[in-house]
Symmetry: C2
Subunit: 342 residues, 2 copies
């Protein structure tokens, strides 16, 4: 007896909770006729948001009560110890128990990572899970990891990230041999720090399509499919990008508000600016994967709206259909076998 | 007998050499009536570029012959050993000998740093020089260091960077107590790596205006005056920003070229888009300082045009007028005295 494909949603997580997550769930259910979504959260707080759910999808939207909620600024260790019935924890438990194929949360990243790791465990051959997301590029997009789960990485960890990133790119983008680059800087005599240099040796010796060192500006070019770095560097690169985009948008709005002519020009240019905005809309890229776990966990941005959260659900769905964790395990086995025979 | 304020220019450095540097020199000399600029480079290759120099400034533009030239991809160690008569090395020598008050080069960053450090030496109390530049922000601008000179930094190095950055911000922006932040990430239980945590302790105990940890997006907000990080992270943040800006500009142009209406709208919006572009023009921020040396060395972007290179000369001029290296020495002395008595 097989159950339908099912994804558990931490319905209380993020800045807006059910207010955003219920409409997102509805819009995905309308498009995916075989999918079941489980809303995990406080049933009394969820109830008012369900009034508007269309009958056509209502029977594929299951409520699963959870009495607690992890706060956005709660310490991961505390969430792990004190919030055993949180919507986040219960959603992950459903994956562990096989009642759901994946889970999605917009909650506290540290708590999500700690809980997912504790409940689901890492795959054999993976020391540490990593956070990966796709970023827009001039040509296509670039997958980048780790984005903040691991601040101090050894060469072996970077190597494992490369394997996971490569598998993900193959699975979700149908690229047979994704180009993998190691993030480095170009100004040193002998480039980079020891970890990066050693990781480069490991990657060169592997059967991955390793293209060598890349620099920060390569993220947005589309000349590499997977960029590998430690979580400190990756997180800074991501946050720096967010900050720059905000500043540019601020200045753009300011200029188009400067007097009647600018306002008129802004009106004329509006459809073009909107098309531009859609193209680089970060909401279309919302949904980072916690890779390396025995299960699929997707992290949505805390301040995601319904459009963005729906995208995170679709990423979960895609990873389920492509069996990403199983593929990572397989790839690791073949790499280990290759090392032994090599 | 005092000589006029003098700045030496590595006239052969960068992607364009004298073609960009001579016009840049001219434009600065026209505005600064007491300044002397020394063009260091091959006199035969410089000659053709001097034909157009206005007589009014010609006598304050001195040629200083240097027979060699450091290539953009040359190893720093090789440049140091084999290029003792390069335009870069001779320009730095002029600072060392007191014939110039500062030098500016658009050449190979690694070679410039290695040569400057070898010739000029670091200030007492500074283990390693760092690269600092100003970046535009929603409010004002932010000084950030290190941007690539040091890939592995101990807490003490980060502390020294903080002192240098704070002194620079006071000197060039007239801020009495610049807000200093340590670049970190927000997702870890106990934030950041060991070096950052230890540097935070040192900064908290100092008399600097240390405001705590900041994240990547704070670079472009203007809520902190000086951001301190190791050179690997700083370089990635800088290059990532360059890459993102290029991608956004690419997509913007693409949208405004999409059919006749978009082109017309682009024409209408052009003055506003240009005003926007001027505001965030990276050329206005061209000129990074190699801080911590016994002398002033400014690095221009390799592909700077005359407008951008002129800006780098003006930064050198400002640092001379504000006696930045002397101020750093003083501040270090007072901090050391404070630690002893504290």
């Amino acid at each position: 007896m097989s159950r339908p494909l099912t994804i558990a949603l931490d319905a209380m997580g993020g800045d807006f909770g059910p207010q955003v997550i219920v409409p997102a769930a509805m819009s995905v259910l309308e498009q995916e006729s075989d999918l079941v979504l489980i809303l995990v959260g406080n049933r009394d707080r969820l109830a008012p948001h369900l009034a508007g759910v269309k009958p056509a999808v209502r029977d594929r939207l299951v409520i699963h009560h959870a009495s607690q909620c992890v706060e956005m600024d709660e310490l991961p260790s505390q969430a792990l110890r004190l919030k055993k019935d949180s919507s986040m924890r219960v959603a992950i438990n459903l994956v562990k128990e096989g009642a759901a194929d994946a889970c999605v949360s917009a909650g506290n990243t540290g708590a999500l990572m700690a809980t997912a790791r504790y409940v689901l465990k890492t795959l054999a051959g993976i020391d540490r899970p990593a956070i990966i997301t796709a970023l827009p590029a001039i040509a296509g997009h670039t997958h980048m990891l780790d984005l903040g789960a691991n601040v101090d990485c050894k060469a072996d960890h970077l190597f494992q990230f490369a394997v996971m990133g490569s598998v993900l790119a193959t699975a979700v983008d149908n690229i047979e041999r994704p180009r993998v680059g190691l993030l480095n800087i170009g100004q040193e005599e002998i480039k980079g720090n020891d970890q990066v240099k050693e990781a480069a040796r490991l990657l060169t010796a592997s059967n991955l399509n390793y293209i060598g060192f890349v620099e920060g500006d390569d993220i947005y070019k589309g000349t590499v499919d997977v960029i590998v770095c430690d979580g400190f560097v990756g997180n800074v690169a991501l946050k720096t990008s967010e900050g720059l985009a905000k500043m540019l948008s601020h200045y753009m709005k300011e200029e188009f508000a400067r007097g009647p002519f600018a306002r008129l020009a802004g009106l004329v240019a509006l459809p073009i600016l909107k098309a531009f905005g859609r193209k680089i809309d970060h909401r279309r890229y919302n949904g980072a994967s916690l890779l390396g776990l025995q299960g699929i966990v997707i992290k949505s941005h805390g301040n995601a709206d319904a459009f963005a959260f729906a995208n995170a659900i679709r990423i979960a769905l895609l990873e389920v259909n492509k069996a990403v964790p199983q593929r990572i395990s397989k790839q690791l086995e073949s790499l280990l076998a290759e090392r032994k025979t090599g």
